[in-house]
């Protein structure tokens, strides 16, 4: 862990800060998430550091609880998309043939529809609940992970050391887990950061459109929706989530960049 670049330190610090805040939200938040504690859109004060929202709830508490919801949904969706996407992608690359063809063409088809539009079509039919949001987001995003994992695995699969393992008589399990996976891990981990950011932005967007987390639960996109009418009166309550989302996204980006750089220098030799 020596020689850590500044950008990575900043990124790691803020990323862990947000995750800790999400985990310990009930201990940190000064008020309850749906508790009405003051007037409408009160400015910031000692009692309410960020002021109150459109119906008089403490905005700081809602931001903290909102972060918890947003991060939890995004994390779950990322894990889901990663496990399905990478397992299927590796399998397609190693098995090849018609299995690869069928899966890859299906993914092409899903990706030929813009993600948001696809999500809207699906959400117009199914009830909007947190598990469903996670499944829909995870499924849609797994197509991207699938493509990356497959591409990486295909690149590795044509390496002579994989051929050498096959000529030795090694089984598929050894080839996937001992030859391909260790070499594919780093680009996938970096991609995981980007997918997580995407999931944060995506769930916020859905909530903002009223198709994500349902009130009185708080999440960052929902807070914007609730307080957006204040903007016209010069009340900036709806803008706090912007700061939160941006700092989280940028710090995760910095971490992902660092992971990627570190691994390319491992692979690249003389660069």
């Amino acid at each position: 862990m020596k020689n850590l670049p500044i950008a990575a330190v900043v990124g790691l610090f803020f990323t862990s800060l947000y995750f800790l805040m999400a985990i310990f939200a009930p201990l940190i938040a000064p008020y309850g998430v749906a508790e009405i504690v003051g007037g409408v859109w009160e400015p910031s004060s000692k009692e309410h550091l960020l002021g109150t929202d459109n119906i008089g709830r403490d905005l700081l508490s809602r931001m903290i609880y909102g972060g918890r919801t947003t991060i939890w949904i995004a994390t779950a969706a990322t894990i889901l998309s990663f496990t399905t996407g990478s397992i299927l992608g590796f399998a397609a690359a190693v098995i090849g043939g018609w299995v690869d063809q069928v899966m890859s063409r299906f993914v092409d088809l899903i990706m030929s529809i813009p993600t948001l539009i696809f999500a809207l079509v699906v959400l117009s039919v199914v009830p909007v609940t947190v598990p469903i949001l996670i499944i829909v987001m995870g499924f849609l995003d797994s197509t991207r992970v699938y493509r990356l994992a497959r591409a990486v695995a295909v690149d590795i699969n044509v390496m002579d050391y994989v051929e050498a393992a096959k000529l030795r008589g090694e089984g598929r399990v050894w080839v996937i887990f001992r030859e391909i996976l260790p070499n594919a891990l780093s680009p996938l981990v970096a991609e995981m950061g980007l997918r997580f950011i995407f999931a944060v932005l995506f769930v916020s967007t859905l909530s903002f459109l009223g198709l994500g987390v349902q009130p009185p639960e708080a999440d960052w996109g929902g807070i914007v929706k609730e307080n957006k009418d204040g903007i016209v009166y010069g009340i900036g309550a709806a803008l706090y989530p912007a700061v939160a989302i941006a700092t989280l996204a940028i710090s995760v980006n910095l971490v992902a960049d660092w992971v990627l750089n570190r691994t390319t220098s491992l692979k690249g030799g003389r660069g």
Binding site: N3, Y161, R168, G169, E170, R178, P182, R262, R270, G271
Partner: protein, 545 residues
């Protein structure tokens, strides 16, 4: 009046390296090199990879590739120190007074523009010739360089001509603006030997006819001996020896130069077949899926225990495909493979573990043949574990034995491939295949990616191991010198067929078939005047016919 054209004094060049897991740091890659070049003369820069020869060549155009930077010294061209010149002066120098021919013409031509456009670009843009004059000059150069249809070849796009032709087009590109100096950077290295000799001849005649001076950069001393007046031998950025061609080839002073001169002179007596062949390839015909022509046509060869069969041919001859068929990666359309007294299943999936163990393979690129995330110990240990069930201290003992056999030793056990040199990597691959105690090892161009001295070391090791382990080699190569060094029998392949096959002495003795004759006579020999001899012989033959 013979004023010095290029004068290099105490040239120092640095580069930034990015070692894994560490901060980037600056290192010096050329440590004070000095030499002179008179107008119309050719200086050969020779050395193995990492010698800094290309870097020095580019420095004579005040250019540093990638993160390379010229850190000290002087480079005088026509009486000016170009390292102290402004950018505009340097631009006039490049493409005007000094031009460049790269190793890969295929990558160096812009794919979106016609060849003529690129050949005359420097002449026209620097105002040396009008467009019409430059074109006329280019056509004349195309003719001189022996390109087909010199009037029209300039209208083609780079992908429409062959590699050897494009390399000659690149030479025309360099000669078009009537430069004083051309830097040739390994111009024939990427070509097959039979193509190389034509390009070499074209370059030599063009240099002679135009009276241009040249820096000729190569790792192949035999090649540079044919075109140079003087030779500068480099090693790891240091000057080793600097003298006339005659002196360097016939009376080298330094040990390193002597080693370079005597490279590829391993003596190997042909062994005669004593027992039943361990491998019999019978009537094998094969093609790749989705194509409609056979890359192998009715191949019949045999390999005897403890001997070496060299399969030699140029790119596209099908020699590597033969290896894929024998290993089971590409099941043949017709024919059989007998191995150790049994019929081998055509497909890999149908072979027993014993079949797989007894038939091992070593690859050309040791870099990609080893998993970068596994240590040397894991790499060599896996076959021990997989085939013989060795574990723990027993396995460790055997790994150490193997490491000793490849002259590396226990200290390398926990290293990763990235920490090894090219030769060491190939040795580890050899140990991995030996670990299986095979009857045959297929060696696919195993020395082609290595520097000559390192390659020699690998060949000697393989010969020694053959005596100890009694293993047979199927040795696939394009390099006839390697064949002479290691083979007991030889199969010459051309366009998917074996055109000549037999014991080494028979195959390499006349009378030859046409192709073998061409192939044998095209291999550069380490003596002065070889190129002229070959050209004269070929002229005589074609006159006689």
């Amino acid at each position: 009046m013979s004023e010095t054209l290029l004068k290099v004094r105490d040239l120092k060049i640095g580069a930034t390296i990015y070692p894994p897991g560490e901060k980037p740091r600056d290192i010096e890659i050329v440590h004070g090199v000095s030499f002179d070049l008179e107008p119309g003369k050719v200086l050969g820069l020779i050395g193995e990879s990492g010698a800094g020869k290309s870097t020095i060549g580019l420095a004579s155009m005040a250019y540093g590739r990638g993160g390379v930077e010229i850190t000290g010294g002087e480079v005088w061209v026509n009486g000016r120190d170009i390292l102290k010149s402004g950018l505009n002066d340097v631009r006039k120098l490049r493409g005007g007074e000094v031009t460049y021919v790269s190793q890969s013409a295929a990558a160096s031509f812009n794919p979106a523009k016609q060849i003529m456009d690129q050949v005359i670009e420097a002449s026209v843009r620097h105002g040396k010739f009008s467009k019409k004059d430059a074109e006329a000059r280019a056509v004349e150069l195309f003719r001189k360089l022996g390109l087909p249809d010199p009037e029209n070849i300039g209208n083609r796009y780079p992908h429409q001509v062959s590699g050897g032709q494009l390399q000659r087009c690149m030479t025309a590109l360099a000669l078009c603006p009537e430069p004083d100096l051309v830097v040739f950077d390994e111009p024939t290295t990427a070509l097959d030997v039979t193509t190389q000799i034509d390009v070499l001849k074209a370059i030599k005649e063009a240099i002679r006819d135009t009276g241009v001076a040249a820096l000729y950069i190569t790792h192949d001393l035999a090649v540079v001996a044919q075109v140079s007046d003087d030779i500068l031998v480099l090693k790891m950025g240091d000057m080793v020896e600097y003298g006339s061609v005659d002196q360097i080839i016939n009376a080298p002073k330094e040990d390193y130069t002597r080693a370079l001169v005597s490279v590829r002179s391993i003596d190997h007596e042909e062994k005669t077949a004593t027992s039943e062949p361990v491998l019999k390839v019978e009537g094998v015909t094969a093609r790749y899926r989705g194509t409609n022509f056979d890359v192998l046509k009715n191949i019949n060869v045999e390999l005897h225990p403890g001997q070496t069969l060299a399969v030699v041919g140029e790119s596209g001859s099908g020699k590597s495909t033969l290896a894929r068929v024998i290993t089971g990666l590409l099941p043949p359309r017709a024919g059989n493979i007998h191995f150790a007294g049994r019929d081998l299943s055509a497909a890999l999936g149908g072979r027993s573990r014993e079949d797989l163990r007894e038939l091992q393979m070593i690859y050309q690129m040791a870099d990609t043949a080893m998993n970068p995330r596994q240590t040397v110990g894991t790499i060599i240990g896996r076959p021990l574990e997989f085939y013989f069930g060795l574990r723990g201290s027993e396995k460790r003992k055997r790994i150490v034995e193997l490491l000793d056999e490849i002259e590396m030793g226990e200290a390398f056990m926990d290293r990763y491939p990235a920490e090894l040199s090219g030769g060491q990597k190939q040795r580890v691959c050899i140990a991995r295949s030996l670990a299986a105690k095979p009857k045959i090892i297929i060696c696919d161009e195993v020395t082609s990616a290595l520097d000559p001295l390192v390659a020699d070391g690998i060949l000697k090791l393989l010969l020694d191991l053959q005596k100890v382990e009694d293993v047979a080699y199927l040795f696939i190569t394009h390099d006839l010198a390697t064949v002479k060094a290691i083979a007991d029998s030889i199969a010459v392949m051309y366009q998917g067929e074996v055109v000549r096959y037999g014991g080494k002495t028979d195959v390499l003795s006349p009378p030859f078939d046409d192709y073998t004759d061409l192939l044998l006579s095209s291999v550069p020999e380490m003596k002065l005047g070889w190129l002229e001899e070959v050209i004269a012989n070929r002229k005589m033959e074609s006159a006689g016919n």
